[in-house]
Structures are given as structure tokens and as C-alpha cells.
């Protein structure tokens, strides 16, 4: 990999991490309330879902971990870092696997991501609280993940459609 390509890659990842953080900030300013405590739209996941379809998986994982650390530092606390990290990594793994199978469209991949994100957080919450009663939340979180994942999926599709024409020339290899 040439130096210019490397520079391009670093710059691109920086832009996407910044985009994630702006989305997280928007959600802090304007919370999208679904009526269940702790449930949010997860606009930052939009960047991750779109990223999965444009960039190598390792790069997207790095973007995801970076934005989780940075947003927790800015808007959260030690506990929220643990929750975000568990949800973020699990949903990334599930989305990557489902995408690789090729059985699902972007909506399905995003829904699986939303649901697994909530499940990862729930599992960590149960571990931290040492209280299994928190699993009474499970049904609500499954449906919430379905809805938020679906919304993110729809938006991702529109975004990919808009940037798709540049995918080969602009995004993947800096200067072709």
C-alpha cells in the first residue's frame, strides 16, 4: 500500500469516526424516545451499516470501537462504555456474518444488528447487576431492536444508493 493510499485511508476513517460522533451528539441533543428506558435510535450505527457495504470489515470494526470509546468519553461514563462496547462488537459480528452469507438485504442485516446490539447490552447488564430479573426486558428490547434496526436499514439503503455511483472511483481506492 502506497503512502498516499495509506493517508487516504486514515483520513477516510477519521471522517467516519467524526460522523459517528456527530450522530451521537445529535442523539444527545434530540433524543428519539421509544418509551422504553435506555432504548435509542442509534444513528451512529447508520455509519457502521453503510461502512460495512463500502469498506473492508477490519476498518469498520476499528471505526466502531474508536467511536464507542470517544462518545463514551464525551457523553457517558465507565458503565456506558461497557454497555456500548458489548452491544457494538456483538452487532458488528452478527451483521458481518449475515452480510457474508448473502441471504439478507441491507434491511435484514441492519435489523439483526439492532437486535443483537440490544441483546449484547442486556447480557452485560445482567452480568453487572447480577440480577436475572432484568431479562424481563428482553421482549421489549427485541422489538425495539427490530424497529430501530429497520429504520437504520432503510436510511442506509438510501445513503448507499446515493453514494453507490462513486463506490468504485471515490471511496474504495483513493485515486483511481
Amino acid at each position: 500500500m502506497g503512502e498516499a493510499q495509506m493517508a487516504h485511508k486514515v483520513a477516510r476513517m477519521g471522517v467516519f469516526v467524526a460522523l459517528c460522533m456527530i450522530f451521537s451528539y445529535i442523539e444527545v441533543l434530540i433524543p428519539f424516545d421509544f418509551g422504553i428506558p435506555g432504548v435509542k435510535l442509534g444513528l451512529a450505527n447508520l455509519v457502521i451499516v453503510v461502512g460495512l457495504y463500502l469498506f473492508p470489515p477490519a476498518e469498520v470494526l476499528l471505526i466502531s470501537i474508536l467511536r464507542i470509546f470517544l462518545t463514551s468519553l464525551l457523553f457517558g461514563n465507565g458503565l456506558s462504555l461497557l454497555y456500548s462496547l458489548s452491544g457494538g462488537i456483538l452487532s458488528f459480528a452478527v451483521m458481518l456474518i449475515l452480510k457474508k452469507t448473502g441471504w439478507f438485504s441491507i434491511a435484514g442485516v441492519s435489523i439483526a444488528g439492532g437486535v443483537s446490539h440490544n441483546m449484547g447490552q442486556l447480557a452485560v447488564a445482567a452480568l453487572i447487576l447480577r440480577n436475572l430479573r432484568i431479562f424481563s426486558y428482553l421482549s421489549a428490547l427485541l422489538i425495539a431492536g427490530l424497529i430501530t434496526g429497520g429504520l437504520i436499514g432503510v436510511i442506509s439503503k438510501a445513503v448507499l444508493h446515493a453514494v453507490g455511483s462513486r463506490e468504485n472511483g471515490g471511496w474504495e481506492n483513493g485515486h483511481q
Binding site: A107, G108, I111
Partner: protein, 122 residues
């Protein structure tokens, strides 16, 4: 949307529904704590149907646990107010018989569990 996407959505909804039917609605306490005159009389699992006859110098109360709910079925106190308080299964709710200094409360198996959840949800 592919057909597999629809299948995924249906599976998630079925999972959520099934979990709700089997486990989700059980957002109740786990055990019944009976206190008599400020002292712990005993704890009893809420899942087990049973009748507990609580006898005190002032009289008796028959506390019944039936199908996950607890109520006072019979008492020889003056006002019978304990019986009129009905059935409960929710934590932090109590049935109280003032004349006999009896408190029947439902709680979860871990004290302070509720407040922990509240803390994290902030």
C-alpha cells in the same frame, strides 16, 4: 427487502412474543416476607401455593399464596382491613394488619435490585 428479511422479522417477533408469554409478564417479586410486631416471621416463595397461619398474642391472620399472588384470606382482627387490601404480586407492595402488627410484603430475591436498574437507566 428479500423474503429472508421478512423471515428474520417474523422470527424475531415470534421470539419476543414467546418470551413475553412465558417469562416476560413475570415482573413480580419472588418471595413473601411476613413481619410480625417488627420482627421477621418468615419468608415464603411466591411461586408455591400455600397457606400460612400467623398467630400472634392479638389473634391470627391466614396468609395465602395462590398462583403467584399473596392475600390475607382470613383474620380475626377488628377491621378486617388486611383482607380488604386484596391480592398483590408486585414488589414494594404490602398488606398490613394494624391490630395484629402484621406486615406482608412481596420482594425480589435480591434486595435493592429495583434501585440498581433505576440507577443504570439514568
Amino acid at each position: 427487502m428479500k423474503r429472508t428479511d421478512i423471515a428474520l422479522i417474523v422470527v424475531i417477533i415470534i421470539l419476543a412474543g414467546a418470551y413475553y408469554v412465558f417469562f416476560g409478564r413475570h415482573t413480580t417479586g419472588d418471595e413473601v416476607l411476613i413481619t410480625l410486631d417488627g420482627e421477621e416471621y418468615g419468608t415464603y416463595p411466591l411461586a408455591e401455593n400455600q397457606g400460612i397461619l400467623v398467630e400472634s398474642p392479638d389473634g391470627y391472620n391466614l396468609v395465602c399464596i395462590l398462583d403467584g399472588e399473596v392475600f390475607v384470606a382470613d383474620a380475626d382482627c377488628r377491621d378486617k382491613y388486611c383482607m380488604r387490601q386484596g391480592k398483590t404480586s408486585e414488589p414494594q407492595k404490602c398488606l398490613i394488619c394494624l391490630p395484629h402488627k402484621l406486615v406482608v410484603e412481596v420482594r425480589s430475591d435480591r434486595r435493592g435490585g429495583e434501585s440498581d436498574i433505576d440507577m443504570v437507566a439514568q
